[in-house]
Amino acid sequence: MTATAERPATTIFRRPRSKTGIWSWITTVDHKRIGIMYGYAAFAFFIIGGLEAILLRVQLSQANAEFLTAGAYNALFTMHGTTMIFLFVMPASAAFMNYLLPLLVGARDVAFPRLNALSWWVFFFGAIFLYSTFFFGTSLPPIGPDAIPGNLPDGGGPGSFNWISGSPDGGWFGYQPNAGPFYSPGTAMDYWAGGLQILGLSSLISAVNFIVTTFNMRAKGMRLMRLPVFAWMTTVTAFLLLFSLPIIAVALFMVTIDRQFGSLFFAATAGGDPILWQHLFWLFGHPEVYILILPAMGIVSEVFPVFSRKPLFGYSAVVFAGAAIAFLGFGVWAHHMFASGITPVAQAAFGLATMTIAIPTGIKIFNWLGTMWGGRLRFTTPMLFAIGFIAMFTIGGLSGVTHSIVPSDWQQTDTYYIVAHFHYVIFGGAVFGLFAGLYYWFPKYSGRMLDEKLGKWHFWLQFIGFNLTFAPMHWLGLQGMVRRTWKYAPEMGLEGWNQAVTAGAVIIAISILIFMWNWARSRRRGRVAGMDPWDARTIEWMTPNPTPEHNFSEPLEITKLDHFWHLKYDEDEEGRPRRREDADAMLEHLEDVGNNPREPIHLPSSSFFPFLVGLGVPIIFYGIIYHTSIAGKALIVGGILLILASCVGWGIEPVDEPHYGDHDEEHGEEPVAEEGELVDD
């Protein structure tokens, strides 16, 4: 670690050095900062997606309401679904994964820090690209069935400011041919397809990175079967991403080429097969729903043991069940197509396959209950959310099982019963799990605790609001409320319950506002967390709070599952934990060396290139949308050149420059954080 390394002659830019301010965020490769950026972005999109949902709900609170136009309604539910899934839950999970995975495996960073920054910037620009459809996109009426294939409508240039109705309106699963060139002309669906493509690229990069991190970056003695469950679920999720994203990539390319260049994959009039799209989409889409839930399952698997003061019951069963869910998740996609006219053999086979997923999921649920059994349960906010997760997710899971009963799914599919199912599993499951994680790991990020009292208000209001919103959807659906209806007739008898649903959504909004207030306040004035605020079990808590930039200061040697716990506790004759004499001394030591490493620690250097490569990607996609014009062609070429040039720079730039990135005190540029203001703003 000589500080005398020469500055290589080949770098294009001066190596970014700032540790604070906007540039430090743009060039950072620190997994924690990347995680934080993911987190804030995801939350912003939660609010946006939530406001879209509120607009939908206002429209639906009356029969034959005229609050929104049909076009606006269709645009809003499309963007609501797309936003919530791709811009909220996935990046929110990515936030936890980024922040925690290296800490959980005992590493200083992920395997490829710059690739990690790249996946964040690709995500960021992809999200902007997708939402720029509100400014640039156009959504025109269908051309009709007599349209001649190959004779595409004009793309429509930028500049048609058409707020809501300029947004994609084909539903989050963009069924063909409705979302194809003849029935959704205009550019809005191109923004949708391109946006998803970019977001997929981002997740694919992360997936490779996380898998390699788990397998290769583990601390000494951190065997696979000693990994915290969240690390496991991250890895399993990464595999799901790895294998499902290429499929949607192909499907989206096919749509884009259909729409832009006149190929005929889904043009039914020319022999294209619209059902092919459904297979490809759901072949991705079903693994995707487990991508949404598995990280949350990982989170609650960390929370239950801590607040039960017992190890996770059946650790290996929980891990294998997660892997089994992922594996089976690839074999059930056609359960979204039971009404599509596939053969009875296929329907039966997919129905049976779908049912089997209940088994590993049940194993997880029961093991969590087993963890609580005989414990010393303390109902902190994270624990409340985790318990809420079990109850609410089970409802959603069981309604999922009723969908797997193929004939009853023929009645349920495309009704609000489905909407109820997936909000129960996604909101009641994934989102509850994510909130459990936020309350639990907030001290890691900020060094302070979220307020418990406000937390409990948040939980209970959200719990009540959630059930008021989504429980009535079950009976609304079974009694005839079709999905994606802008209007329903008064004689359908749906109005009363729809009003309850809308009221519930408002209660959720209030609970979220409480949470935001709690967050903003506790970041500055929350109770100081100290070293080990929850008396936790896993090694991420062996670093001080907030986590120092270099994570661990001293080499770790992992000897057990729940290593940290066993450093603090041994067991008495009855098998009850007994705090070791030296536990507090150890904590004090950890906090001290954590904040004041004994020797300089060498960290990856910041880099401009991930940002630049990420910037290049949407430029290409803008170019593709307007490829018939000169400007479009220029954008394509420009984007490619920007990416290639940045890649060359990236390749030449040494991965780290001790002299510049060094973390020693002489440079001492990092701010002295006051009052919990670490370097994150």
Binding site: A107, N216, A270, G271, W650
Partner: protein, 206 residues
Amino acid sequence: MTDVAHVEPVHEEHESTGVPTLKLGMWIFLSSEFLFFGALISNYLLYSNRAGFEGLYPAEIYDIPFTSVSSFVLLMSSLTMVLAHNALSRGDQHGTRTWLFATAALGAVFLGGQVFEFTEFIVNYGMKLTSNPAASAFYVLTGFHGIHVAIGVFLLLSLWGISHRRGGLSEKSGLNVEMVGLYWHFVDIIWIVIFTVVYLISLPPA
């Protein structure tokens, strides 16, 4: 893209599995590419012999001798690639440089062949992307393969360029050569499948 794990290890064993991090990453990425090309190939299989399309089916106009030659060229580029890597591991900078360039050149020849083939199909036979779904599937499948080859050529030429620097390719770049090699061979095996399944086996509808 090159990125070497360089985070200072918290402990001695740097790579818990013993496989270099970059290499593990490359293998994992490649395993996902199966799903990518699998979708494209399935798409082609779905449409290639559906009856009743307007216009020509790709399988009616393949030029097998021509494609055989270009397939052979791509296959042999795998040989030159592996020779480049081998030369580097023996410290033979000159050999490395030569073989890298040969590989890129063979790749470029293959691409040229593809451009020729497409032009032939479009101009002489009038089978366009927009002719029918089978034609669309053909162009998109072989086109995406071609893009992969082009990226490979770019990577190879970059390595070749770097190899001219003083001191040639370092040992660290040895890993990079191996990575590009893995990618290159992978693109080759995909073509092995495409050549057999798409060109030799698939038939137009009876």
